[in-house]
Symmetry: C2
């Protein structure tokens, strides 16, 4: 066992990857993008142009929404959606799961930038339930749901539970927004079109650099008037970039090449989970993956596990983990098969 | 004269361009970016990585600042700088020229997102003067200056006037921020290093997709603690993207290939201005260009001028204007030789 191992170097030499996409070099990615350009296509300018607007229309249709706008990040899409919905209801209060991206990864942006009050609903270790919502005693302007719930291994409520939650919100005139960062992964579980899933919500955000393998970038889709207003907020937040085409080209390529693989990814994830389940040192959340994401908990010493994973990669040419293993208070937790 | 002309098609066939860079196709741009990657370079991840951090350090040094952070847009850089400075002074009020980008192009983002009050200083048709500042009767947390002042043809104050303005602010503990979207163009006029010009200010923003021909993207440079705080705000505004490398690669390429040409661009702009000045139908602002930007006012009917410019382009292979001619209340105004 040596400390001189360079994980990135080892990963580059692997021919297979259990978690995430096989890595490509920067020149490979950029040459492939160049080759994906149609002869007549020209750069977008401040959000306008056939390339970007056609892609927005394609995704709007896929999601069954009137309109869509491409933005640099999901952080931007979601803050903007929540701001618009709460402005319209004159009620700057939003509810979401305690592990929502807005709560964990945005440094209180809803509060600091948009003056929103936030209500955390339910347990950080479980999906939000109708009962959790019924316990909320303050009026809400908007409710955000994340499908699948990334921080608990990509769990999904049943379709019936989802309908109950949405109905609860609609009865109270609470706008509903879907954090669909990994929405693409939900189709095998629900066995419904994306438009049907997104159709439950007033607005939906989707990402292109996770399962679809893009570079960065996101789309917010919803009613045409909301999307028009979102473009103003996009400018305000500094996201109406002079040119977004590298992200758009990569997103389009990822959608065309990978969206059809979600069922196969899910089947593979379930097979891997079943194989891992035979080891008493390993726990998986959820026990049967509902998407192609799962959380893998391994009992053991972190440094040793890390070295062992690198050894496996070197010997078998198979890369094991998505994020690098990190310690859990209870177990060594490895986030695998997803982001 | 025919209406069937396609300006973009005509431009593509031109071999020379008086205003802006010669246009390249998307595949040309992307293949060239791919070829500019060094063998060991890998993508940045959420603002971290040798490629992006080395470039930030290079620009920080060029500007004589402790630290720098790459962001998707200047809109983001500037709001963040002003927010940080005014937070530190517990005084949410900023002053800038009536044609500042923050006033004209950001839909009141300083007010709507950051709760800033704005004070417009001076005339929209002239540079801000010390007298204009002395007329401000409210305390300010920060003062933003734009060098050169884009909306009035890229005008610049003298070095002495600049020192007076900065001294006025410093004496009042007002933070100073430089909108250096076109700072690269100022060196021929001041005959001083960028570090000396930027050194007058507490923070500076520079852009990479104007004279330097990048795709999009900007850098905010300043004291290390301010830049660290700016990274938090960048996350909040949705600009801490998963990957920014297409913009970083294009910015680095533009800086390496074009920064040394600013003197030549300026000489050419002065020669063109002198030639245009012989026509009584044409007025130029400023009469002698101080950067390689100028505003060209042509007396005439807009449609006819547009057609004439296209005819010139078709016949001579030389593209004339940067932005497409637009009508001025007084004259037909053409923004040429810059953005």
């Amino acid at each position: 066992m040596t400390n001189a191992r360079d994980p990135r170097e080892i990963r580059r030499k692997c021919s297979r990857s259990i978690a995430g996409h096989h890595t490509q070099t920067l020149p490979q990615i950029l040459h492939a993008l160049a080759d994906s350009v149609q002869p007549e296509e020209t750069p977008d300018i401040y959000g306008q142009g056939k390339l970007i607007n056609d892609f927005e229309a394609e995704v709007a249709q896929l999601l069954g929404k009137e309109a869509a706008v491409f933005m640099p990040s999901g952080t931007m899409c979601q803050q903007i959606a929540l701001r618009i919905w709460t402005d319209r209801r004159h009620l700057p209060r939003v509810g979401f799961h305690p592990t929502a991206h807005l709560e964990l990864h945005e440094f209180q942006a809803p509060q600091r930038l948009h003056g929103l009050q936030t209500v955390l609903i339910g347990s950080p270790y479980q999906l939000m339930t109708l009962k959790d919502l019924q316990a909320v005693k303050e009026p809400l302007g908007a409710l955000l749901l994340e499908l699948p719930q990334r921080e608990i291994g990509g769990q999904l409520p049943t379709w019936e539970e989802l309908i109950e939650i949405i109905s609860w919100a609609r009865e109270r005139n609470i706008a509903t927004h879907l954090d669909g960062a990994r929405l693409w992964e939900c189709k095998p579980y629900y066995q419904r079109d994306y438009a049907e899933i997104a159709g439950l919500f007033d607005t939906v955000y989707v990402s292109f650099y996770k399962s679809l393998g893009g570079i960065s970038g996101a789309i917010l889709a919803g009613p045409a008037d909301v999307i028009e207003e979102a473009r103003i907020w996009q400018r305000r937040q500094g996201g109406n970039l002079y040119q977004l085409y590298p992200y758009v080209l990569a997103a389009r390529k990822g959608l065309a090449e990978r969206l059809g693989h979600m069922e196969a990814y899910h089947e593979k994830a379930k097979a891997i989970a079943a194989a891992l389940a035979t080891f008493p040192q390993i726990e998986i959340t959820p026990a049967v993956p509902q998407t192609h994401m799962m959380h893998v908990f391994i009992r053991g010493e972190r440094g040793q596990l890390t070295e062992a994973a690198l050894e496996v990669a070197e010997e078998s040419g198979t890369w094991l983990f998505g994020a690098w293993p990190y310690a859990d208070p209870r177990l060594s937790k490895v986030r695998a098969l997803g982001w």
